[in-house]
C-alpha cells in the first residue's frame, strides 16, 4: 500500500506541470488544432517581439526579481549575523509564522495605502507638518523603476528566507559554530558570517531560487504595485491570455515561454553572484580578520528589518481600519466614523468567496498531509529517499513561472471539460500546496525516534497501528503546523484560482485583486482582513489543537 504513495504524489504533482508546459509550448509554436492552427512556425514569436515596450517589461521583471532576491538575502544574512542566538531573535521567530501566513497581495494592498502620497503616513503628517491640503503629485507607488514593487516583495520574501535559514541553522549546528568562532576572537557578526553562513547557504539555496523565480514572474503583487506603462512581462502575458482576441493566446504562450527564459537568465545571474561572492569570500575568510566595531551594520540590519516589519503591520492595520470606516479622506489621520455597515453590506458578496476559499484550502491541505505522510512513511519503512524528495521535484512548481504551465493547463482542462469544476481548482492548488506541506513536515517526521516503533512492534502491535496510535499522535504538532502552512498557501493562490476556476470559484484572493484596481478601500479592507484572518486562525488552531489533545500528557508539552 505504502509503495503507491510516491508514484501517486509524483503524478499528481508533476503531471499537471508537464502537461501544462506542453499546452504552453505547442501554441507558442503556432500549433493548436482546436483553433485551426496546425502550422508549426515562429509567427507568435515574431508578434511577441513586436509588442510595444516588450524589452522594458522584460527588464522590469528581471531587475525587480534579482534585486528583490539580493536585498532579501542581504537583509536575512545581516539580521542572522547580528542577532542569532539572542533574545531578540527568539522574539523575531515568534512573529515570523503569522507574518508569513498573510497572503502576498494583502501585504501589497496594505503597503500601497501606507506609502502612497495620499496614504496613511502622509495623512498623519498633513497638513500640520507638510503643509499639504491635498496629496502631492509624487510617483511613489507604481514607480517606473519598480522600487515599490520590490519593497512589497521583500516584505514577504525576507521573512520566508529567514524562516528557511532558521531551519537550516538548526541542522548546521549554527549556535556551536558561532561559539567556536568567538573563542577564536572573532566578533559575533564576523564569526557568524565566516563560520556559520558558508555552511547554511547550501541548504537554503533552493528556497532562494524559488524567491528569485517568484520575484521575476509575480502577477498579483505586480498588479497592485508595479508600473503599467508598460507592466512587467508576467502581467502582460496574463492579460493577453484573457483577451477576447484568441490570436493573442499564441503570443501569450510565447510570452509565457519567454518568462521561463527570464527565470533561467535570472538563475544564471544569481549563479554569477554566487561565484563572485565565493571567490571574494574565500579570500576574505582565510585572511582571518577578526573584525572591529559592529554597531553600524547591526543597526543597519535592525533599522531595515524594523522598517519593513513596521510598514507591513501598519498596512495590515490600515486595512482593518478601512473595513469599518464610514469615510476616510485625505488629510484625516483617522476615519470620520466607525461602522459595521460595510460588513453587513458585503456579507452576501464575501460569504461565497469565503466558502470557496475554505473548502479548497481545507481539502488541499488535508490531501497534502495524507500524501506527505504516505511518502514519508514509505521512506521510513524502506529506508531510502524517493525521487520525489531527493531530485528537486518538489521545487518544480515553486521555481517554474506559474504562467508558463497554468496557461497550458487551462487549455487541457477546457479540452477535458474540467475547467470551472471544483476538482480542477483543488488539483491545481494541490500542486502548489503539497511541496510546502511536505517540506514543512519532513524534518520532524524523519527526526522521530524509531525506537518507539520497535517498542510497539515488540509488544505485538501491528505496523499500521503503530503508525496510527503511536507515531502520528506523537507527531501531531508538526502535522498540524504543516497543515496550517498548506492552508495558508492555498488561501494566497491567485493565478491557479483564476485559470482553473473559470470565474466560477471566486476566492478571497481573486476578489481582493479584482477590487484592488479601483474598488472602494472599505471593501478592499474587508477582503484583506478575511484573507489574513483565515491563515492566522489556522495557525492558532495548529497551536491550540495539540495543546488541548495533550493536556493530560506531561511528556508531550512544549519545552521552553
Amino acid at each position: 500500500m505504502l509503495r503507491l504513495f510516491p508514484p501517486l504524489a509524483t503524478v499528481l504533482l508533476v503531471g499537471p506541470v508537464l502537461a501544462g508546459l506542453a499546452g504552453t509550448i505547442l501554441p507558442a509554436f503556432d500549433y493548436l488544432p482546436v483553433l485551426g492552427h496546425r502550422a508549426a512556425g515562429l509567427q507568435a514569436w515574431r508578434q511577441l517581439l513586436e509588442l510595444p515596450g516588450l524589452w522594458t517589461s522584460v527588464w522590469l521583471s528581471l531587475s525587480t526579481g534579482l534585486a528583490t532576491t539580493i536585498l532579501s538575502m542581504l537583509l536575512v544574512v545581516l539580521l542572522c549575523a547580528a542577532w542569532h542566538g539572542t533574545k531578540v531573535f527568539v522574539a523575531l521567530e515568534a512573529w515570523l509564522a503569522p507574518l508569513l501566513s498573510v497572503p502576498h497581495v494583502t501585504v501589497a494592498l496594505g503597503l500601497a495605502f501606507v506609502i502612497s502620497p495620499s496614504g496613511w503616513i502622509m495623512r498623519c503628517l498633513s497638513p500640520w507638518a507638510t503643509g499639504f491640503s491635498h496629496p502631492p503629485d509624487w510617483r511613489i507607488v507604481q514607480d517606473a523603476g519598480g522600487l515599490s514593487l520590490m519593497f512589497g516583495l521583500i516584505a514577504k520574501e525576507a521573512p520566508f528566507l529567514l524562516l528557511m535559514t532558521l531551519a537550516a541553522l538548526g541542522q548546521a549546528d549554527g549556535k556551536r559554530g558561532s561559539m567556536v568562532a568567538r573563542t577564536f576572537g572573532y566578533r559575533p557578526m564576523m564569526g557568524w558570517l565566516k563560520a556559520v553562513f558558508p555552511r547554511v547557504y547550501p541548504q537554503i539555496r533552493l528556497p532562494v531560487l524559488a524567491v528569485l523565480a517568484y520575484g521575476v514572474s509575480v502577477v498579483d503583487v505586480a498588479m497592485v504595485l508595479a508600473p503599467t506603462t508598460p507592466a512587467p512581462l508576467a502581467v502582460r502575458v496574463v492579460k493577453m491570455a484573457n483577451d477576447s482576441d484568441l490570436n493573442l493566446r499564441f503570443i501569450a504562450s510565447a510570452g509565457a515561454l519567454l518568462q521561463c527564459v527570464l527565470v533561467i537568465v535570472g538563475v544564471f545571474c544569481w549563479w554569477l553572484v554566487e561565484r563572485t561572492v565565493r571567490w571574494w569570500g574565500i579570500r576574505w575568510v582565510t585572511a582571518g580578520n577578526r573584525g572591529g566595531r559592529e554597531s553600524i551594520p547591526r543597526w543597519i540590519a535592525s533599522i531595515a528589518g524594523g522598517t519593513l516589519g513596521l510598514a507591513v503591520i501598519l498596512g495590515l492595520l490600515a486595512m482593518t481600519v478601512w473595513s469599518v470606516a464610514t469615510h476616510w479622506r485625505f488629510p484625516s489621520a483617522i476615519p470620520a466614523g466607525v461602522t459595521w455597515a460595510n460588513w453587513t453590506l458585503h456579507a452576501s458578496g464575501f460569504t461565497g468567496a469565503l466558502c470557496n476559499t475554505l473548502s479548497v484550502a481545507v481539502c488541499t491541505a488535508a490531501a497534502s498531509l495524507v500524501l506527505s505522510v504516505g511518502v514519508l512513511e514509505f521512506e521510513a519503512a524502506s529506508g531510502r529517499r524517493t525521487m520525489l524528495s531527493q531530485g528537486g521535484f518538489l521545487y518544480i512548481p515553486l521555481v517554474l513561472p506559474q504562467v508558463a504551465f497554468l496557461f497550458g493547463a487551462q487549455v487541457l482542462l477546457a479540452l477535458s471539460r474540467l475547467d470551472g469544476e471544483w476538482i480542477a481548482l483543488a488539483w491545481l492548488h494541490l500542486v502548489f500546496v503539497f511541496p510546502y506541506v511536505f517540506l514543512a513536515l519532513s524534518d520532524a517526521y524523519r527526526a522521530w525516534d524509531e525506537r518507539y516503533r520497535r517498542t510497539g512492534l515488540c509488544l505485538g502491535v501491528p505496523p499500521f497501528r503503530v503508525l496510527l496510535r503511536i507515531k502520528l499522535p506523537m507527531l501531531l504538532r508538526p502535522i498540524a503546523a504543516a497543515g496550517a502552512v498548506g492552508f495558508a498557501v492555498s488561501v494566497g493562490q491567485y493565478l491557479p484560482t483564476l485559470f482553473a476556476g473559470a470565474g466560477r470559484f471566486p476566492t478571497l484572493t481573486t476578489e481582493a485583486v479584482a477590487l484592488s484596481a479601483g474598488g472602494d478601500l472599505r471593501s478592499v479592507g474587508i477582503y484583506a482582513l478575511l484573507q489574513m484572518a483565515l491563515p492566522l486562525a489556522a495557525f492558532a488552531l495548529a497551536l491550540a489543537a495539540p495543546a488541548w489533545c495533550f493536556r493530560h500528557r506531561g511528556g508531550m508539552q512544549v519545552i521552553r
Binding site: T56, P117, S118, P135, R139, P230, S348, A414, A517, G518
Partner: protein, 416 residues
C-alpha cells in the same frame, strides 16, 4: 431528450414492421406541436428556470453595481427559485474569451458562462463568432416597456442588436469635478487642455484599454475631428493616421500637465472616484450622470462634487445582457433578464440611493403605478438635468475602439 430520439427509433423500426408506420406518423404528428407550444410559453420557461444556477459574468470593479447585482440575485432566488452567482470580471473580454475557447474545444452545451453584461466590441466579437443564444428579446414579457425609439437600444456601437442582447442600462459620458477647487468647469477639449495647463497634475484618465479611458480618447477625437462621418465606419490605415493625428497631438500636450505627468494612470472609473475623494485630482470621468449624487450618498465622494458635460455633447450608449450559445441555464438566464427589465428592478437601478444609472424603459409605456415609482425617485443634487446633459452623441464604430487602444499602448505605455 426522449422526444428527440423517439422519431429516429421509430424510423428504424418502420421498414420491418409496417404496422408500426401508422403509429410513427401519429407520434410524429403529435410531437412537434407539443414541443412548439412548450418553447413559446413563458410559464414553461419559468418552470424550467426554477432550480437552475445562473453564472452572471459582469464587470465587478464597482461596489454599487455589485451590491445591485447581489440584490437582484436575492430577489431571483426568492421569486423564481433561481440561484444567481455574480462572476466578477476584471474585463468583459475575459468572459468572451472563455466562451470562444469553449467553442474551440468543442464544448457546445456545458459552457461556464450563462449571462454576460456586455456591449460594443465584445458584443460585436461574440455575434461575429456565433457565440450568442437567440434572438431572444421578443420572448421577454417585460421587453414591451423598453424604449426602442428615442434610446439606442437596437443598435450597439453601430452594430445591429437583432434580438441577441437585451438592453439593461443607459450610460452617458460625464465629468465629475470638485466645485471647491474648480470654479468654472472646462466644457470643451480645448478648455480642458487650457485648464490642465493652469492646474498641472490635477487631471487624469483611466488607462486604456479600460472602457472609460478609451471613451475619453473617442470623446477628444469627436471634438477635434473636422468630419465626424468616418468615425462611424472602419477606415484604412492611411485615413486612420490622418484622422487620429490631432488626438495624439492633443495628448502629447495634455500628458505633461496631467497627474503623475501622464506616466501613471488610474486603473478604471472607481479608481478615479477614489482619486477625486482624496483630492489627488480635481476632475474625473464617469459613465453615469448619477455617479456624483450616488457617491455623495454612500459617503465615497465629498458633498462638493458636481457633474458637467461638454458643450458639443458627450458620448452615450446602452449596455446589454447577452446569453452565450452554450450556457447551461438558458431559461434561468431569460427569467433573470426579464426580471432586470421589470419596472421595479429598473427603478431601483435608477435610484441614486442604490445605483443611479438611467433606465432603458420608456416612461410613456408604463402603467400609472409603475410610472409613479419612477416619478417618486429622488433626484440627486449633483445630477444634471436632461437639458443640461443634452442629446448623447452615438458611439463610434468598434473599429475605432480597437485601433485607438492599440495606438495608445504603442505611444504611451511602451516605456521611454
Amino acid at each position: 431528450m426522449f422526444t428527440a430520439v423517439l422519431p429516429r427509433i421509430l424510423a428504424l423500426l418502420v421498414p420491418r414492421f409496417p404496422s408500426l408506420g401508422v403509429l410513427a406518423v401519429l407520434a410524429l404528428a403529435g410531437l412537434p406541436s407539443v414541443r412548439g407550444a412548450s418553447t413559446n410559453s413563458w410559464t414553461v420557461i419559468l418552470a424550467e428556470a426554477r432550480g437552475q444556477t445562473v453564472y452572471w459574468n459582469a464587470w465587478g470593479g464597482d461596489d454599487r453595481i455589485n451590491a445591485y447585482i447581489a440584490w437582484a440575485a436575492a430577489e431571483a432566488k426568492k421569486r423564481f427559485g433561481i440561484e444567481v452567482r455574480h462572476v466578477k470580471l476584471g474585463d468583459t473580454s475575459e468572459a468572451v474569451s472563455r466562451v470562444l475557447a469553449e467553442k474551440a474545444a468543442g464544448n457546445d452545451d456545458r459552457g461556464s458562462v450563462d449571462l454576460i453584461w456586455i456591449n460594443g466590441e465584445n458584443f460585436s466579437a461574440m455575434k461575429r463568432h456565433g457565440l450568442l443564444h437567440g434572438p431572444f428579446v421578443d420572448r421577454l414579457p417585460n421587453f414591451r416597456f423598453v424604449d426602442t425609439v428615442s434610446k439606442p437600444t437596437l443598435v450597439d456601437f453601430s452594430v445591429p442588436v437583432d434580438g441577441f442582447e437585451a438592453p439593461w442600462s443607459m450610460a452617458q459620458f460625464v465629468f465629475l469635478y470638485d466645485s471647491r477647487r474648480v470654479g468654472d468647469p472646462p466644457t470643451s477639449a480645448a478648455a480642458l487642455l487650457e485648464w490642465a495647463k493652469a492646474n498641472p497634475g490635477r487631471f487624469s484618465y483611466p488607462q486604456p484599454p479600460d472602457f472609460l479611458g478609451t471613451t475619453f480618447l473617442k470623446q477628444i477625437l469627436l471634438e477635434l475631428a473636422t468630419d465626424r462621418a468616418p468615425l462611424y465606419r472602419s477606415v484604412d490605415e492611411h485615413q486612420f493616421a490622418a484622422i487620429s493625428a490631432p488626438l495624439w497631438a492633443y495628448l502629447d500636450e495634455l500628458h505633461p500637465v496631467s497627474w503623475r505627468k501622464g506616466r501613471v494612470f488610474p486603473a478604471n472609473g472607481p479608481a478615479q472616484t477614489r482619486q477625486l475623494a482624496d483630492g489627488e485630482i480635481d476632475i474625473a470621468l464617469s459613465f453615469s450622470p448619477e455617479a456624483a449624487s450616488s457617491g455623495i450618498e454612500t459617503g465615497q465622494l465629498p458633498e462638493t462634487v458636481r457633474t458637467f458635460v461638454w458643450k458639443r455633447g458627450t458620448l452615450g450608449n446602452a449596455s446589454f445582457l447577452a446569453i452565450p450559445y452554450n450556457g447551461r441555464a438558458k431559461s434561468g438566464a431569460l427569467v433573470l433578464v426579464d426580471f432586470l427589465l421589470s419596472p421595479e428592478a429598473q427603478a431601483r437601478k435608477a435610484d441614486p440611493r442604490h445605483l443611479g444609472s438611467p433606465t432603458v424603459l420608456s416612461l410613456d409605456k408604463l402603467s400609472p403605478t409603475d410610472l409613479m415609482i419612477f416619478q417618486a425617485l429622488p433626484k440627486g443634487k449633483a445630477t444634471p438635468s436632461l437639458e443640461e446633459l443634452g442629446t448623447p452623441v452615438p458611439e463610434l464604430h468598434p473599429y475605432w475602439m480597437d485601433r485607438l487602444e492599440k495606438q495608445w499602448l504603442t505611444r504611451y505605455a511602451a516605456g521611454r
